[in-house]
Amino acid sequence: MTGLGATTPLGGDVASTWEALVAGRSGVHLLEQEWARELPCRIAAELAVEPSEVLPRVRLRRLDRSEQIALVAAQQAWDDAGLNDDLEKERLGVVFGSGIGGALTLLAQDDILEESGPRKVSPFTVPMLMPNGPAAVVGLEFHAKAGVHAPTSACATSAEAISWAADMIRVGRADVVIAGGAEAVIGGLPMAGFSSMKAMSTRNDDPAHASRPWDRDRDGFVMGEGAGALVLERRDHAEARGAKIYAVVAGSGLTSDGYDIVQPDPECNGGGRAMAAAIKQAGIDPKEIGHVNAHATSTPVGDMAEVKGIKREVGDHVVLTATKSMTGHLLGGAGAVESIAAILAIVEGVIPPTINLENPDPALDLDVAANEARKVELNAALNTAFGFGGHNAALLFTKA
């Protein structure tokens, strides 16, 4: 892992996002837009820095918002890794996902179709709404020719992307892979859909305290938007060019529940098997894992099921945290941004807090970095991500 990039509700880059995470700042606000007025959930975590502040105007109009932020995060990761055009492009891959894709483009162009007819529909509609759009845009930007792939597994998407990226390098298909995910669907229809499932918090009168994983009074997730990108690189390739190495993707596990389309398995069997697979691949003793950056979305069932899985597969010695307490749920961007948080926890020796954990759920029997950042020396940290459809991903990072 040689480069990191992100644009999130907490900051326009990795440094500002990390600073806000450690400080325990919430990125959740009341939505003032007209379209939000009738929604049961009128809160969300919008980007701290608009892509229009970073990308040129004509570029913006041809890209869906998810593609714009994928590009912003990938460019940062590329620059952070110190990569340039000398890289052999046939050895450069991209694995970049989105949970929902260009839904807002689809809706906006459908409005144009209804109001003005087919001729007014943008010729960029299809490349903007296709779910492989963020991967394709990133691949094109850096001229990646080893393969551009776009996993879509809802909220597990970008964790799955990192796993596939590591596999691409392990099997020898690429030397360098840009991996990550992006999501930008804060809009009427996606939010109404999640609300109809009763999956979202309705704490509209208190946005900053709405996302409260593991708290007794949690009432659903808060939607966020954002992107995370990581440069994975074969170790000898990174060493040969003297790149700084943040951490190592020591193991990854991908499993599926075979249980329900949206309900998490209450015993976290599938999630647990993903954790076990990551640990097995890394070949380390679970006791060496000091920290889990948990999926913990602030929903009543999912949060506690995951705790069972972690306790069973990793042990009761770990310190947990839930990044979503501050960023909201970045859906397809979550796994990448939370992996960055887990990696920086190892590098900096600091676990960011889980904010709003005022009255822990009585069933929470693991240690959480509640409300204040925790200084801990870490050799290994796990990130978990689970998605609608029963997709489970676990990534195990170890000290470089």
Binding site: R57, V58, K120, P123
Partner: protein, 80 residues
């Protein structure tokens, strides 16, 4: 009152800048959309739709292929 060639070119230049980021200083009758101004086929679709709206003309799809330069487009719009 019909627009002059200069007025049409200026209107076209505004469209090119808006949808394709073309520098207005580069817009001249002899410039090719694809070779000189970097307006690819998808961007050209946007230019045509915007030009139809702005100038109140119809530019059928099979006509677009003949509009290779800015001058071609100005002449077509001038004829109305």
């Amino acid at each position: 009152m019909a627009l002059s060639r200069d007025e049409i070119r200026e209107g076209l230049s505004d469209i090119l800048e808006e949808v394709a980021g073309v520098n207005p200083d580069d817009v001249a009758d002899g410039k090719s959309f694809t070779d000189d101004l970097d307006v690819d086929s998808l961007a050209m679709v946007e230019v045509v739709v915007a030009a139809e709206e702005k100038f109140g003309v119809k530019i059928p799809d099979d006509e677009v292929a003949n509009l290779k330069t800015v001058g071609d487009a100005v002449s077509y719009i001038e004829k109305g």
